[in-house]
Symmetry: C2
DNA sequence: CCTTGACCTCAAGTGCGCTTGAACTTACAG
DNA sequence: CTGTAAGTTCAAGCGCACTTGAGGTCAAGG
């Protein structure tokens, strides 16, 4: 299968803007060949790859983590359904953890709502107990000096592939 | 109650770095008085306010939304437990929605995992059906031109106070 | 009085995930 | 052949939530 999709076609079919696709390529998440006139041409498999990237991103992984996960795909051949399945199944625990944390937060909220306390010392909302925090892929990924930062940094750490672990 | 907490004390007791507290103040989320020597002094109620900010932030609100929510607190008097309760109860639907979305994503993942499809046309993961997306407070808040961006922008829109509704 | 640590302001930097703009080239339809 | 839509590169910008650094001031103990 020779590459024949233009960046515009991939963009339309994936919902990712051309600039986004170029950005993905600059990070090594997708690849393209070039025409004589230096224009990108993609093979159809890039669509699945982009689909994976978008979904993984929705799940909350950083592009770096996704790149690492994609790097574990077989080199020579086109990835099989099993390959993709293996990768995406690794999201499961991550999703479970995120859901659990939000539920805990919600329940704490419920138990606090009557008192309106939000006390720093006593309130469950303020003292998460387990220090699992990070809700989404927020900003600041540095390990910090403050307790709050440290706790946040802890909560991080990917669940896919050889994701950067600290 | 005259203000007597230094920024360092508030920082230690809230877990928010001094720079963070100054940043909050610059955005109008908290207030302080000054000593003769221009140093900040806080009243104790700022601790509860900061607690609210941190928790709301964990829930996924932007600082702007939080500021708007805080603006609905009574002007003259110190907020009561009921005031805080009213504010934080507005998080409930937001949390519920986020949880529901993640669960849907997880379930879709489960049904996809066998096939490893991630097909752009057929896969539930790729066609969320309802276009509720946004997982956490990610980047890019502009309403975009692409379908993907539009869908993302839709998913946004706060649930607290007079949050910017487009 | 002096040192030390905590505080001040202001501008700039960071990290992520892109987008935008300028200046230019290519591909294709008529 | 020509017009135009779509492509190219590169640098810079954006939005959020902060942090960092430079250069200086303040407050309290010895």
């Amino acid at each position: 299968m020779e590459p024949h999709l233009t960046i515009g076609e991939v963009s339309r079919r994936s919902g990712v803007a051309p600039s986004g696709l170029r950005y993905y390529e600059s990070l090594g998440l997708i690849a393209s060949e070039r025409t004589g006139g230096n224009q990108r041409r993609y093979r159809r498999s890039v669509l699945r790859r982009v689909a994976f990237i978008r979904t993984a991103s929705r799940v909350g992984l950083t592009l770096e983590q996704i790149r690492d996960a994609l790097a574990t795909l077989p080199d020579g051949r086109t990835p099989t359904a099993q390959d993709w399945s293996r990768l995406s199944s690794s999201w499961r625990p991550l999703l479970d953890a995120r859901i659990a944390e939000l539920e805990r937060l919600r329940d704490d909220l419920d138990s606090c709502i009557g008192c309106g306390c939000l006390s720093l010392e006593r309130c469950a909302l303020q003292n998460p107990g387990d220090r699992a925090s990070a809700l989404g892929p927020g900003p600041r990924y540095l390990e910090g000096d403050t307790p709050a930062d440290a706790a946040r940094a802890e909560a991080r750490g990917g669940g896919v592939g050889a994701a950067a672990r600290r």
